[in-house]
């Protein structure tokens, strides 16, 4: 499906969605409280069928975090990028999508581990790579590592 057609379908699903221009994929910015319902309809609408979440990443921006979902359809082959901005950097929260895509459960644990974004309703939100007693979230830009200094 072409990006324009896809855009029309998504506007019909969620009128308040914002779009960003991207040469490769269609970027959609969705408010956090609408994310779960929106992605459910992406997966279940008959001519969209976005059933394969191939990448889930978190990005640290100066005033907020974004969680980025790269989703594609195994049947039709069209792809979409869904982005969610968190409310500030103090207590970032995004709804979990573990019940829509099983793989999200583990990718979300990774984002939680390295960036400290909390996923509400997640069944098992523990650190995945670092030990449980680790202090801080290493992928944050303001993370200070006293021993192994990494600076841009």
């Amino acid at each position: 499906m072409e990006q324009e057609q896809l855009k029309e379908k998504i506007v019909a699903l969620l009128p308040e969605a914002e779009f960003m221009t991207n040469k490769q994929y269609l970027d959609v910015i969705v408010p956090a409280n609408k994310l779960h319902a929106f992605v459910t309809s992406l997966k279940e609408t008959n001519d969209l069928k976005f059933d394969y979440l191939f990448c889930l990443s978190g990005v640290d921006w100066p005033n907020y975090f974004t969680v980025v979902y790269h989703i594609t359809s195994s049947e039709y082959g069209h792809s979409i990028v869904v982005k969610v901005k968190t409310d500030g950097r103090e207590n970032p929260e995004v709804p979990s999508l573990f019940d829509i895509y099983a793989t999200a459960e583990f990718h979300e644990r990774e984002v939680y581990d390295l960036l400290g974004v909390k996923f509400t309703n997640h069944p098992d939100l523990r650190r995945i790579f670092l030990e449980d007693t680790w202090v801080g979230y290493p992928l944050r830009k303001d993370y200070k590592d006293e021993i192994n200094i990494i600076e841009r």
Binding site: C55, V59, H70, A102, H107, E151
Partner: protein, 376 residues
């Protein structure tokens, strides 16, 4: 006497026995720990614990320039080092809108396929060994040596090549490049049937793998299982077909698909891929243009324009995704690596529950996990 006995047989009604498989265990092929709950010999559930060799590659990338990052990507899935290099290079080229010379595209794809065969050979060695066939290990390593020699001749190193750089290749390939690959194909075509005689047709092997750890297509898609493991379940996830890159659009090849999704067919998918890779290699070698250009014109300092770029590449184990967020500097603002093994690992609980502990080894072997790729 009888009173003493009474004390000994006092048992919990539902005894739960938890053992740790790993972090040092020969059949996890690296430092990975499975927390396995057993009832008798049957697996009740399994929790994977990873992160023993987490090196923070994504964090390190944020302070390195793009040509430097190439050398870190080797260390993800060290058996598909070439494809990992290619993924980052393609992503940078996409961002800069650079078209690499045709010859480079062919060389990249040829080396990818060689790397795929080498990786599947090592997997075959290890899988046979997991199931008790030590001879496999010697057969596989004997033939893998030939590919490593080709890599040594052309790339300068055997395992971690760092041969693909943004814009092209590090240096030109050896003049003997085409001939040595043709020689290898001729050699390996004769020896690959030996693998089948030794292992595939073996009754013990078949009994231990058929109808074991069945993964449905829905599960494969839901858990994001890619590569031969996903294709054995009927999930057409080959990135070479879905989003073709390098020289793959120029040639016609078969995507290996099975619908059974059991351990044996995950094995079969990889064996067939080795045959198919040799066909791809021959087609690519026939079409590869002559000349000696190995790189496009690149600026000495690579700065990506502000924006977000994504590149998908098919490694030997599945789909590798590189997601670069750039703020216009010479280092990335954020670089995310979607590694195939990370997704493939977490289906283990679903596949092994209800099977015997000896089957666990067969199932994890058939997923072909490489631990540094999980932990990053």
């Amino acid at each position: 006497m009888s009173e003493e006995k009474k004390v000994i047989v006092e048992l919990d009604e539902n005894p739960e026995y938890i053992i740790n498989m790993g972090p040092q265990h020969p059949s996890t092929h690296g430092v990975l720990r499975f927390e396995v709950s057993l009832q008798g010999e049957t697996v009740k559930y399994l929790i994977p614990h990873c992160g023993y060799i987490h090196r923070g590659i994504e964090k390190m990338c944020e302070s390195l320039t793009y040509p430097q990052i190439i050398h870190l990507t080797d260390r993800l899935d060290y058996l598909s080092a070439h494809m990992n290099n290619e993924a980052v290079s393609l992503c940078v080229e996409k961002a800069l809108d650079i078209e690499v010379p045709e010859r480079v595209k062919y060389i990249r794809s040829i080396l990818s396929e060689l790397n795929r065969i080498a990786s599947h050979q090592l997997w075959w060695c290890a899988f046979g060994m997991d199931l008790g066939g030590l001879t496999c290990f010697f057969y596989g390593l004997r033939d893998r040596e030939k590919i490593l020699d080709i890599f040594e001749e052309s790339c300068g190193s055997r395992l971690l090549h760092s041969f693909v750089v943004p814009g092209g290749l590090m240096h030109d390939v050896h003049p003997n490049f085409k001939q040595s690959i043709r020689d290898f194909i001729k050699y390996f075509r004769k020896l690959l049937p030996e693998y089948d005689t030794l292992l595939t047709g073996n009754v013990i092997f078949q009994n231990r793998t058929r109808d074991l750890g069945i993964m449905s297509k829905e599960t494969a898609i839901n858990y994001g299982i890619t590569g031969p493991s996903g294709r054995a379940s009927g999930f057409a996830c080959d990135v070479r077909k879905v989003e073709p890159y390098s020289a793959y659009p120029y040639i016609d090849f078969k995507e290996i698909l099975y619908t059974e999704g059991d351990t044996f067919h995950r094995y079969k998918a990889r064996m067939d891929e080795m045959w198919e890779s040799m066909v791809i290699l021959e087609k690519l070698l026939d079409k590869m243009p002559d000349g000696n250009d190995y790189t496009a014109k690149m600026k000495p300092v690579i700065k990506l324009p502000e924006g977000e770029y994504f590149q998908r590449v098919e490694t030997a184990r599945g789909e590798l995704g590189v997601y670069i967020v750039s703020d216009g500097n010479k280092t990335p603002y954020r670089l995310k690596l979607r590694t195939p093994n990370f997704s493939n690992l977490f289906v283990m609980n679903k596949l092994t529950a209800g099977y015997k502990i000896a089957d666990l080894v067969a199932i994890s072997g058939s997923l072909d996990l490489v631990i540094p790729d999980i932990d990053r």
